[in-house]
Symmetry: C3
Subunit: 238 residues, 3 copies
Amino acid sequence: MITLTTDFGAGSPYVAAMKAALLAGCPEATLVDISHAVGAHDLEAAGFVLWAGTRHFADGAVHLAVVDPGVGTERRPLAVQLGRSYWVAPDNGLLSCLLRESRQQPEAVQLQRPEGASATFEGRDLFAPAAAALAAGARLASLGQPVEDLKRLPEPTPRVLWVDAFGNLVTSLKPPVSGVKLGPVSVRRAARTYGEVGQGELFYYTGSMGFVEVGVSGGRADELLGAGPGTAIQALGS
Amino acid sequence: MITLTTDFGAGSPYVAAMKAALLAGCPEATLVDISHAVGAHDLEAAGFVLWAGTRHFADGAVHLAVVDPGVGTERRPLAVQLGRSYWVAPDNGLLSCLLRESRQQPEAVQLQRPEGASATFEGRDLFAPAAAALAAGARLASLGQPVEDLKRLPEPTPRVLWVDAFGNLVTSLKPPVSGVKLGPVSVRRAARTYGEVGQGELFYYTGSMGFVEVGVSGGRADELLGAGPGTAIQALGS
Amino acid sequence: MITLTTDFGAGSPYVAAMKAALLAGCPEATLVDISHAVGAHDLEAAGFVLWAGTRHFADGAVHLAVVDPGVGTERRPLAVQLGRSYWVAPDNGLLSCLLRESRQQPEAVQLQRPEGASATFEGRDLFAPAAAALAAGARLASLGQPVEDLKRLPEPTPRVLWVDAFGNLVTSLKPPVSGVKLGPVSVRRAARTYGEVGQGELFYYTGSMGFVEVGVSGGRADELLGAGPGTAIQALGS
């Protein structure tokens, strides 16, 4: 099992090239696309989608993540083991959310660039072959030298992390809170589902990923509040 | 074989979470995405895409469909058997087109909510595990109590059901007709393919799904006619 | 292994119908989507994505490509063998880039239309069954009569072939060049990666697909230069 998370865009031949490299190295692999539209300009938000999209996969899965504005620069290419699963990604902070949410101690190695690897497409020539090797049973230690001090972005200030297809705001807050303040608007109505509140009413709830979310019955909270990934928020106390 | 049809948006971590649940319950499953962009505001149109996208799959396939504006409310979660294939979906009318087009008598059970299922993400915690169980060989009757009177939307008035990527209008009409009227425009030219009509000429034909469609050679019928899903039409008699 | 490249749009039930036909004919096949958003109005650009997306797959892969504005007209449906891999596609020029880039001599047959095939959806009824048969081990010669003189588009004049998700321009030029001229702008700065140039600086480089590309550090070259697929360019000599 190998999942893919990139910012290459759906339908990009770069994604196809990575899949070819994955299947060349591990023909038996089941490939699952997480997203190819995560925003590279916001590695915290990209890392949230990576964490949220990969967290339910079974032990032994390999998660390939290439969101890499610094390709070709000196940031380290990594393979990271958490529990019995693997993440293969650049050491640029993309794994911050995952490392924060996991209770496991990460083990990591710095991948070695193969001879002749493209300077601009390490996804195909470096990351995908490493992910395929892990999926085919290679041990982490065989892929490179151990490294520590993985790059972690600073703990995010309270903010919107992601907006789902229905306009619900997934925030960086964890329960319990007594409400959420976005700009001038305080959302103090708590509910478990849309069915509990009146049409057009804003409410907050603990979403399926364990974070506090803000929705509005019969509408889109992102449009109503003019909010999106990165919008600053405040937790309301009791 | 398990197919997925949702309104979660391509690249959503919710889709990934459902796939993880499917593969946890049935590791051998082949997953096929039908669409993650069907419109929840129009369950008739969403149901058309579900029917059109799943109808060619072989006996034994399991089709997971989560377009569920009423998640968390009292509508029943279902598993439905038609012939030797299965559809797992909320009982909100989404299966209307399928039930109308099928000659098989449906058998259905009401799924039981597992302990600890998220109130807002039954796709992951309720529907996907049920679909995986069916794909792994579970019998329908093992998943819940039999139910009847599945919710069916009223037979749609003549309308555009779906617009394909080329702008062709798939209507709810079945042949034979002598033409299609959309607003002030009557399309009376019949053809089998684009090649038979002149550039810019509107025509109607029986599409690959058995419904009457309207196209225009060298252009987009949706733009030319200002039509989209839901646009009212009339069948022209002889 | 079967890949799919179409202009049907992501989430189209037509793609699902083709996958059902592929899996009916070859249940063991691994399906990989290359793109369902290639532009039919530009068969040269569509063919570039097809070549770029399929070139890394292993020997024996079958590549199904349905970008077919002339469906239902007299263009021939083809299966083409290059080395030990196969492309199944209409004979409308879509394979031009592939045939130009390959060093192999193509062998091709004209597919036979099955009885009852839809006039408007040969992807499902003609191309997909042929691709499945090849994936299941059928020999090329069993699918139809040999044909020669495959349709090839004229060698493209220097132009932008494709724009990636980051705004980089993939041109039709091969190295070595001493720069690229787009309209009034001459790009004479060569670099290997973004890290080598200053913020906002335009540069050219040999991309991961072997073509000359134009990028800008910290920005989008397509927006900066107002360029897209089809934009005329000039190679700068030394």
